[in-house]
């Protein structure tokens, strides 16, 4: 190819085109609003987090109330941190930095307002529905369908505002931070939409259109990439803006930023299946997940190194400037988490770590370290600027830095220890060849002291956060808020693309950038998901696996409502240690009627895949009423209200109809007869309990839940 002269340098361009200076104002109000929401919901999210942490040490903190039990408020904690704290944080960071790298006000003040208030309403609805047990059970996607639709709409509002701003920019080039923001918008949109496909039963209840293995695959394609595109790409984008600002020097390597941008978004999307190793997912999908997860370390570290090297030769600055200190720890935590991620996806390590607190430690290094600390750095840098003043107290910020850093260490170390220890205990055999810890509970009680230590770490972190709130409030108080920041920019009109490389044209066009990211992130998704969805033979059917009875279906929904899946898995991996403890390992054909899947991701309690028939009905009755009555020392919450609450069967038939339309073979006669069938089964269980001298009405919730638990994993035994 012949070379043409390139008119890329602005010096050259300046001579050819008209130059004008325009005056305008940056919108700081949206930034302040999102920032304020970040701080408020950070506090809420961390308080709930500390509560759930303490519940595992002191189960009385479940308060024997449905709304405050672990299974319901653990999702409240994760959603509050991810979508309310971090979500508002990235919006604040994006709204601030995007206007400045584009040298323009946000595209539309109205859209900014709708985005802000819409997002807060979504958070509010989550805060109400989750404690009420209104949940889809899919991790980080627990909100029910009307809220999902609202999220999609508000996300589009954000997207229009984002892309609109980039289109009307005064800066000819699109700075790399904005690339990351565009990829965030595009990918989260796809992830959210595809993972939320559900068939409504009623206003607040729906079933995932996917079942079993497919549902799991889609869910972790989503879950893993929510980490990538909600918790990572926006943060890298913010790093590329705020770090140069804080250090007052440009980023170390712009080329590296572009290289790691494209490789990161390309690779991430393939890695989801590493959440499902040794599960019933087809082997080839698992292998793809592992290979791409390992490769992912390169672009991740590319980002970290680019950030840290930006500070080369300026370490004296770091020791003085607390915002830079937060930044350095944040990037270090990012590097650690992204080193550990690939390790965890290696099958041999995963075999020990999966389902344990190791994973909990891993995510908290990311959340507390990478996300939290970067947001704190930005807050300390931003609030004085928004209020046109200096930070109230540098020493308090230092105190926060140390409390936070110690908090992360005191959190992570005990959790790594707990995870490692418990993972090994689950696998340990005596020389005689039997499990050393046949009683699961024993492996729990041994790690409870570490849970207590973790709560101390969390308390430190929270204390530091409170110090920051005070410091920032004082800062705001002494300054005055600059709602509209006057500025000006040079504008070049009539930019001619002729004679430029293809990449120049490409880079100047946000829409094109959006589409290319869309294509790049779609490749991995398509290669994995389409075959899994289309090819039936990926899931060998098992003749004896039958749909749930109406009563069991209702019981299953109670299991979802109470969030039992937050502590219990339903996935027995093909290890001797697991088959010995739980029974035959899980086959993909066993889950074909599971809309949604309930594999779980953390075993705070034992796996329940083969629970059916293990204990008599009476055992479950007493255990659910008061777990310690059957298992002294248990940390499982008590579910006494299940004995009192009448089972709501108003939707049973509607539920079966929805299931039928999703491919579950319920005949019309069976659906019509559902109430009788349900009553018969309930009466039988009640009679059985009565024989054990337990008086309970057949129309109580506990009967349905027992029916479901007794069904679990029994189908294959009939073969």
């Amino acid at each position: 190819m012949e070379q043409t002269t390139v008119l890329t340098a602005p010096m050259a361009a300046k001579e050819m085109i008209e130059k004008r200076v325009e005056q305008f104002e940056y919108d700081n109000t949206s930034v302040r609003n999102f920032g304020l929401a970040t701080l408020i919901f950070g506090l809420v999210g961390m308080l709930v987090g500390l509560t759930v942490a303490l519940q595992l040490v002191f189960p009385v903190l479940n308060f024997d109330l449905p709304y405050t039990t672990f299974g319901r408020i653990r999702p409240l904690h994760t959603n509050a941190i991810i979508f309310a704290f971090v979500g508002n944080g990235i919006f604040a960071g994006i709204y601030y930095s995007l206007q400045r790298v584009c040298r323009t006000r946000m595209y539309s003040d109205n859209l900014s307002k709708i985005h802000f208030w819409g997002w807060q309403l979504i958070i509010l609805s989550a805060a109400i529905t989750l404690p009420l047990g209104i949940t889809t059970s899919k991790e980080y996607a627990e909100l029910e369908w009307p809220i999902d639709i609202a999220i999609a709409l508000i996300w589009v509002v954000f997207g229009i505002n984002l892309i609109g701003t980039i289109i009307k920019r005064r800066e000819k080039h699109i700075y790399v931070a904005a690339w990351f923001y565009i990829a965030t918008f595009v990918t989260v949109a796809i992830l959210h939409i595809f993972n939320s496909f559900a068939f409504p039963v009623s206003f607040l209840k729906s079933y995932s259109v996917y079942a079993g293995v497919q549902d799991a695959l889609v869910q972790w394609w989503y879950g893993h990439n929510a980490v990538a595109f909600f918790l990572t790409t926006p943060f890298l984008g913010m790093m590329y803006y705020f770090l140069p600002k804080m250090a007052n020097r440009p980023i170390y390597s712009y080329k590296l930023s572009i290289l790691h941008f494209w490789t990161l978004i390309f690779l991430y999307i393939w890695a989801g299946p590493h959440h499902l190793l040794y599960s019933s997912l087809p082997d080839w999908v698992q292998s793809l997940g592992v290979v791409f997860s390992v490769m992912l370390i390169a672009p991740s570290w590319g980002g970290m190194i680019n950030g840290l090297l930006t500070l080369r030769g300026a370490w004296d600055k770091v020791s003085e400037d607390v915002t830079l200190k937060f930044m350095v720890v944040s990037l270090t935590a990012y590097g650690m988490a992204t080193f550990e991620g690939p390790l965890l996806s290696l099958k041999s390590i995963n075999a020990i770590a999966h389902f344990t607190d190791w994973v909990v430690a891993h995510v908290h290094v990311g959340a507390l370290g990478f996300n939290g600390f970067m947001l704190f750095a930005i807050a300390y840098w931003l609030v004085p600027r928004l209020y046109n003043t200096n930070l109230y107290s540098k020493s308090l910020a230092s105190v926060h830095f140390w409390l936070g850093t110690l908090g992360i260490l005191f959190y992570a170390i005990p959790m790594y220890w707990a995870g490692f220890m418990q993972g090994l205990m689950w696998q340990e055999f005596t020389p005689e060849g039997v499990l050393r810890y046949p009683n699961f509970l024993e492996t729990v009680t041994r790690v409870i002291p570490l849970y207590a230590a973790r709560s101390v770490g969390g308390t430190f972190y929270l204390a530091g956060f409170l110090v920051m709130l005070y410091n920032l409030a004082k800062t705001a108080q002494k300054g005055s808020f600059l709602a509209n920041e006057k500025t000006e920019a040079t504008v070049y009109t009539k930019i001619d693309h002729k004679g430029e490389y293809w990449h120049k044209v490409f880079e100047n066009r946000p829409i094109l950038l959006m589409i290319s990211s869309l294509i790049v992130v779609s490749i991995g998704g398509l290669v994995q998901i389409i075959p899994t969805l289309l090819i039936k033979s990926n899931i060998p059917t098992i003749a004896s696996v039958q749909p749930y009875t109406p009563l069991e279906l209702e019981g299953r929904d109670l299991y979802i409502k109470e969030g039992c899946n937050n502590c219990h898995s339903q996935m027995i991996r093909p290890f001797r240690s697991e088959t010995e403890r739980y029974g035959t390992y899980s086959k993909s054909g066993e889950y074909i009627y599971d809309h949604p899947f309930l594999w779980g991701s953390k075993r705070t309690g034992p796996d329940l895949m083969r629970q059916g028939g293990k204990y008599p009905h009476a055992w479950h009755y007493f255990h659910l009423r008061e777990s310690t009555s059957m298992s002294p020392g248990s940390i499982m919450p008590n579910y006494a209200w299940l004995l009192e609450n009448e089972l709501d069967i108003s939707n049973t038939q509607a539920k079966m109809k929805v299931m039928k339309s999703l491919g579950v073979p319920y005949s019309d006669t069976r659906i019509n007869n559902a109430r009788n069938e349900l009553k018969e089964q309930a009466d039988a269980i009640t009679a059985n309990l009565k024989a054990e001298k337990i008086e309970v009405k057949p129309d109580r919730e506990i009967i349905a839940l027992i029916a479901y638990l007794q069904r679990l994993g029994t189908d294959v035994k009939k073969e």
Binding site: H173, P244, I251, L267, S287, L288
Partner: protein, 56 residues
């Protein structure tokens, strides 16, 4: 029909290799393109957050 299709590729080694190839090509494409990136332009881009590009 699908079944026969699948039988040939069980283990899906082909899939894995193909995926890695796609990535390799993609990576090389970007690397090559970055290699030819204009130096002055990079300097300009780098300085966007720092307002140094403007006289004002």
């Amino acid at each position: 029909m699908f079944k026969q299709h699948l039988a040939g590729v069980t283990g899906f080694d082909a899939y894995l290799i193909l995926s890695l190839l796609i990535f390799l090509l993609f990576f090389i494409g970007i690397a090559v393109r970055l290699f030819f990136f204009d130096k002055k332009e990079i300097e300009y881009l780098k300085n966007i957050p720092l307002d140094k590009n403007f006289d004002n």
